[in-house]
Symmetry: C2
Subunit: 409 residues, 2 copies
């Protein structure tokens, strides 16, 4: 009755990411586009700005009028008028002339630069002294200098940060085409599991994984769709699983930690439409008994029942799959790993990738990663942890003081 | 007509954080508590688990029955029954006896440990051979081992990550007391500014800051409340500002980049109820012309009009204020700075703190921070940036290759 997993290594598991298609697109108003994944390239159809714009308060001039100006030998310049904000100046200037202008104002014809107000002194109502020369283009954003008409300014697959939303505002994008948020079904299994609002009888525990997984799904840009707790029998699991696969873009089956329920999780997955069992066991710790199946182009995960194992598998293995179907093309900066020094020696078995929970501690000499030890069924070890560190499949252990990359959790 | 700011240094600005009170609390259902700030300490009123629980599949035994067992000399043990998941076993075991048990099952009376199924072989229906000894407590989570009744398990002020939500589920917290999300009013000023849905005439530009600020507010846990664009005149700004201070927990006045509008921003702030102008200019670049005022215990910010300056000021200066009134007590891990090597020499003026936009590039020898240069009115420089690096007030510059901490944006 021994049980063997034909375990798959992590690299191979990640190769399956590309075998799933991203979800569809939808159009949302700009103010609902924050943090969504852009679904199309965006090309600007205007120059930004589309006029020569002052970036300081002062006087718009022809730069040549100021050449040689200094504290000892100021340039005398005639003020021809004032630029009203948001208006086209109804006058132009020539050599030796200036226009009073505020930050954001449009340069009048004839002006090519702006002298900062700090470098001037008003002599009378229509004359100023200029104490510092400016170069042509100085203190000005020229037409099209920020964004040029016809340029591709954003590429599909990026997450819209505030600055990208700002740029979309600048080009007048009232609506934005983004990927739908993937809907992720969560099925909790196990005869010993009761909902949060019930008091567990002896031998029972409350359903933790539905809630932690929902939180992780939200963090990964998905929409959690809980299907509740399913008893440990084939028909119940098959019915709810079929429904979840029909209604969601990805499905988690969590728990099923008894030998029996694990057995019929595989049976159930094998009976779904166009079933494929891609992975039955991964060479990671914790998280080895993870299942990945495919039906109707959707990933269905059998996640370990132990809370910590489920969280590690989610963070390390599942998250990139959700991001992929959600359309994200991640960049190095998205990884946000932060290096820290390991506070003690760690040993690891070869032939598997270990993920160790660590607490990040700030000391005078920088950040330290302190392993949080404890069984993978203990929730409190996950609370103490700020992140995970990886000990790869070919490493037997890590020495105290080694620089490690902390994966935030 | 020269203009002088009595600038405040960054450290002094941060001292004002404590002069604002956190917003009130509210109670939300557990499934809406993700990423919220916990408002009260949480004490568990149960042991978790509240029974001795197996964390493997195998046989519950008295450890002493297995002492000395090995491949060559197995222990013979009688299987007395099977533990049903979620049930209290209706039998107990003695020395030399075992109960078949699944992960998550309750140990029967008399058992103190579990032998993994991999280390056993069934001889007949009621007898197994055990090839490896276990210690008392092995492969078991004992009653109260994860969480003990009466212990404070969460402290007020933390952000609820998925794992904290999971723990709240475990103790049966159907509802959670959290801080309200602070409502932040956004007022855009400037006669040259038009809304996103209008086509700017020559000399005008669309309102960018309302949208970038809204995005940053959402990221910081607040609720953006846009008040639209206000013309550059005292009465309009006073009316809308009074309304915003009344209805929000914090207010941003963005833009007002002309000398005139800056002047009456201060005038308006000085006429609000119980006004205090705390800061008029900060010794940072970009972002110097930032105003911080207080009225009715609420912070009102005059933010620079240049988009990049506004973003830098938000990320560096304003964000900790929002987090504070939102109840967050941040930890070292919240900072999530990541070190990188600077790709070129940077000079800086002493007497101010510089924040340089950087792109993070992954090379074989690690992460590099590449300065993104360009005027602070150019949105595209902020798009290219993954973060900011700080050159402190007493540093004249940084050499290529220096390790810098990147503040993600």
């Amino acid at each position: 009755m021994k049980e063997f997993f034909k375990v798959t290594d992590l690299e191979t598991v990640f190769h399956y990411i590309e075998s799933f298609d991203p979800v569809g697109m939808e159009t949302v108003p700009l103010n609902e586009s924050h943090n969504r994944i852009l679904a199309v390239d965006v090309v600007s159809d205007i120059d930004i700005p589309d006029f020569n714009r002052s970036i300081v308060d002062g006087y718009a001039v022809r730069a040549s009028s100021t050449f040689g100006a200094s504290d000892g030998s100021p340039a005398f310049i005639t003020v021809k008028g004032t630029v009203d904000m948001g208006e086209v100046p109804d006058f132009s200037i020539k050599s030796g002339q200036a226009a009073s202008i505020s930050t954001g104002g449009m340069l009048p014809k004839g002006a090519d630069s702006v002298v900062m107000i700090e470098h001037t002194e008003a002599i009378d109502e229509s004359t100023i002294e200029v104490y510092k020369s400016v170069a042509p283009g100085q203190h000005v954003i020229e037409s099209g200098e920020d964004i040029r008409n016809g340029n591709r300014i954003l590429t599909a697959g990026i997450r819209l940060r505030p600055q990208e939303t700002g740029l979309l505002a600048a080009i007048g994008a009232e609506k934005v085409k983004v990927y739908r948020k993937p809907k992720i079904g969560i099925i909790s299994t196990g005869d010993e599991i009761v909902p949060v609002n019930e008091t567990p009888k002896p031998g029972q525990i409350r359903d933790v994984n539905t809630h932690t997984l929902a939180g992780f799904i939200l963090k990964s840009g998905g929409i959690p769709v809980p299907y509740g707790i399913v008893r440990d029998d084939f028909d119940s699991l098959f019915d709810i699983c079929s429904q979840a696969v029909e209604q969601s873009d990805m499905v988690f089956i969590s728990g099923g930690s008894s030998v029996g329920s694990r057995d019929f999780t595989i049976d159930v997955l094998s009976k779904l439409p166009d079933p494929e069992i891609l992975v039955h066991g991964i060479s990671i710790s914790p998280g080895k008994p993870t299942i990945l199946a495919k039906s109707r182009n959707k990933a269905i995960w059998g996640l370990p029942g132990h809370v910590v194992s489920a969280m590690v598998v989610f963070r390390i293995v599942v998250k990139p799959f959700i991001e992929h179907i959600g359309g994200l093309k991640s960049t190095p900066a998205d990884k946000k790993l932060f290096p820290a020094k390991l506070s003690r020696n760690l040993s690891s078995a070869q032939g598997r990738t270990d993920f160790i929970r660590v607490r990040v501690i700030e000391k005078e000499d920088g950040l330290w990663a302190e392993p949080v030890l404890g069984k993978s069924g203990l929730i409190h070890t996950m609370l103490k942890a700020d992140g995970l560190i990886e000990i790869d499949i070919n490493t037997e252990g890590l020495d105290k003081g080694t620089m490690v990359n902390v994966i935030p959790v």
